[in-house]
């Protein structure tokens, strides 16, 4: 079992809710990304999602778009993001999942992209613009490299699609909380909760809710339906406004809330 699966399964068995946090690599610079990752681990994050900045991120809202634009302006490249992963691995074994768009992967070369990141130490890959129908593009490479290609389900997914995606899922299933893009504040998870229920009929894999979870309250509401919550835009906003210390306190407060809910 991979580092990622082991971590999430372990949490699930012990009845704790998982906390997955997202950062854009190279925003505002790589040194800050590295420092923030380690700080988030120290505050109790279970999995880190590293976003590789892409020029045209259609699934992202203004906060992550802006972070990607600034990271690219500051000179972020795929090679430097691979180096970042290697740096994190020098001191940390926290599960790392890379999130990026298809063209980042194709542009760098799909075999090389996945092989280089795996060699540097990632544990999974999320590609939000690669639906079930197109997954064949990367599936075999991920299998050969031994990392899961994380599937996504959304409130608009039909029952057939949910089941099909859930049956194939590895690592965890990324459950998109709302129709729309990342960011914003969203506190009603009933709709995705129903989707998750359908997915659970065919899969025992950990379910993680993401998109629009910005604070403890949102995390707590989402955790009611899922095994883990994913926080992204809110982390970047904290980083922008209050620096690494702000990120620390946000992660800490969500962690405490989630642990308070776990039995």
């Amino acid at each position: 079992m991979s580092n990622l699966s082991a971590k999430l399964q372990g949490l699930k068995e012990s009845g704790r809710k998982g906390l997955i946090v997202y950062l854009t690599a190279g925003y505002p610079d790589y040194a800050t990304t590295l420092e923030t990752v380690l700080a988030m681990e120290a505050e109790g994050a279970d999995v880190i999602e590293i976003g590789i900045p892409f020029s045209d991120p259609i699934a992202d809202g203004p906060v992550i778009q802006h972070a990607a634009t600034l990271a690219l302006k500051a000179g972020a490249t795929t090679a430097k993001s691979i180096e970042l992963v290697a740096q994190i691995r020098k001191t940390s074994s926290i599960p790392l999942v890379v999130m990026t768009y298809v063209n980042s992967i194709l542009g760098y070369g799909k075999e090389k992209f996945i092989a280089d990141f795996v060699k540097a130490g990632i544990d999974g890959l999320i590609v939000p613009d690669l639906p079930l129908e197109e997954a064949g593009l990367l599936e075999d490479i991920c299998t050969r490299q031994g990392i899961p290609l994380i599937g996504l389900i959304a409130p608009t997914s039909t029952v057939d699609r949910i089941k099909c995606i859930a049956q194939k899922a590895e690592g965890f299933l990324y459950c998109v909380s709302n129709t729309g893009v990342t960011g914003g504040q969203h506190n009603n998870y009933d709709q995705i909760g129903a989707v998750i229920e359908t997915a659970r009929q065919v899969s025992q894999i950990p379910m993680a809710i993401g998109f629009g979870i910005g604070n403890s309250q949102g995390a707590s509401a989402a955790a009611h339906y899922a095994d883990a919550v994913i926080v992204g835009s809110a982390i970047l906003e904290k980083l922008t406004n209050e620096g690494v210390a702000g990120v620390r306190s946000l992660v800490r407060s969500i962690r405490e809330t989630l642990d308070g809910e776990s039995e």
């Binding site: 892409f54 063209n103 699609r161």
Partner: protein, 393 residues
């Protein structure tokens, strides 16, 4: 026809978030039913004919022909359509589609503003609520079209994310659609985007080439040698070429924007200088760097200023069905002025790119050969830009 996953020999597909996949599948299913529905086709035909002004003429450009003194030049006059460009063909078709699907709202992106105006027009006609995303930079250079859209009751939303041009407006329109997919239909403006859009837009534009084919017969044109059209996303070119794709003896030429030159970094020639990748949901030729970041294109013509191109054009390119060339801003401006002076027609700067390529091919033609150029739109919208770059005449 694309395969079941919307691929034209490997190009195309649906590289979109899961959230919109069910909507794309539904759109494809509904469209397949309507495509063969007589009442839908009759309704479409009615509006194209009575409202938009189809068929457009295939005009023998006698003066321009005399100017080159070689083969005959005909112009397919899409510029005569209501709203001034071929974009209305697709807007009418998709608005009728939206109405049949029970969607009350439409969203669109626009570059030059021609597609935005076409959507705003059909939204007014059919009582649909319309939002158009437009890059901040394009809003400045196409003030006339922005006013037209607002006058027609459409909300024009400036896009400042990324580089604030057509590609970012497209991303924003897709994001809006992802968020409001339940009650909104997205009318993409060209043969780009995820399947089934490239196929649907092509089907609504292919009437251009179908009419030309009939007109060629009627005018007794015997030696049709070249068909020329400009290519940004490629909708007028696809509309023009599609019916002729199997006519090997006719040379089809798609003309891209070379901006300040294809050896510079300032152009929009994705088929000439790009490599395949994924943008806005489709795998196709793209201007991109080694990391797959999209390179901001450049062209004097806002409608050609797009870093990608329709996937079926990529397929045509790789299979030698259509040849793709590029002309610079300067060459396009010369053609813009030439047609105005010689034929009394002010062409759109987009169409001027196709006209500019006549300089290359006319000397190679024989007097009994014919060249047809798609005059995709009229140039009124470009007058401000022309004043800026051409100065006083």
């Amino acid at each position: 026809m694309p395969d079941k996953n919307g691929k034209f020999g490997g190009f195309g597909g649906r590289f979109v978030p899961e959230t919109v996949m069910p909507a794309l599948i539904e759109l494809e299913e509904r469209y397949e039913l309507l495509k063969n529905d007589t009442s839908f086709q009759e309704e479409l035909h009615f509006y194209l004919q009575e409202y938009a002004g189809r068929p457009t003429t295939l005009y023998f450009a006698k003066n321009l022909t005399a100017h080159y003194g070689r083969g005959k030049i005909y112009l397919k006059r899409e510029d005569l359509l209501h709203t001034g460009a071929h974009k209305i063909n697709n807007a009418i078709g998709q608005a009728l589609l939206a109405r049949r699907m029970g969607k009350k709202k439409i969203v669109a992106e626009t570059g030059a503003g021609q597609h935005g105006v076409a959507c705003a027009t059909v939204a007014a006609l059919f009582g649909l609520e319309c939002r158009v995303y437009m890059g901040k930079e394009d809003i400045e250079r196409q003030a006339l079209n922005v006013f037209r859209m607002r006058l027609l009751g459409t909300e024009v939303i400036p896009v400042t994310s990324g580089t604030g041009t057509l590609k970012d407006a497209t991303s924003e329109a897709i994001r809006y659609w992802v968020t409001n997919v339940e009650d909104t239909h997205y009318i993409i403006g060209s043969v780009v985007g995820p399947h089934p859009y490239p196929m649907i837009v092509r089907d609504f534009q292919k009437i251009i080439g179908e009419e030309v084919k009939a007109q060629v017969m009627k005018c007794n044109i015997e030696k049709l040698k070249y068909i020329v059209a400009c290519v940004g996303g490629g909708s007028n070119a696809m509309g023009m070429f599609f019916s002729f794709r199997n006519d090997k003896e006719i040379i089809k030429i798609g003309v891209e924007a070379a901006g300040k030159g294809i050896t510079t970094n300032e152009h929009a020639a994705s088929l000439t200088k790009g490599r395949p990748g994924v943008l806005h949901g489709a795998f196709s030729y793209l201007l991109q760097d080694d990391d797959g970041q999209i390179i901001e294109p450049y062209s004097i013509s806002a409608g050609l200023d797009y870093p990608g191109v329709g996937p079926e054009h990529s397929f045509f390119r790789d299979n030698g069905i259509v040849e793709y060339k590029a002309v610079t801003d300067e060459e396009a401006l010369e053609a813009f002025k030439r047609l105005a002076r010689i034929e009394g027609i002010i062409p759109a700067l987009e169409s001027s790119h196709a006209l500019a390529y006549l300089e290359e091919i006319m000397p190679k033609t024989q007097v009994d050969e014919t060249v047809i150029v798609c005059l995709s739109g009229r140039g009124d919208k470009d007058v401000d830009m022309a004043i800026k770059v051409m100065g006083g005449l």
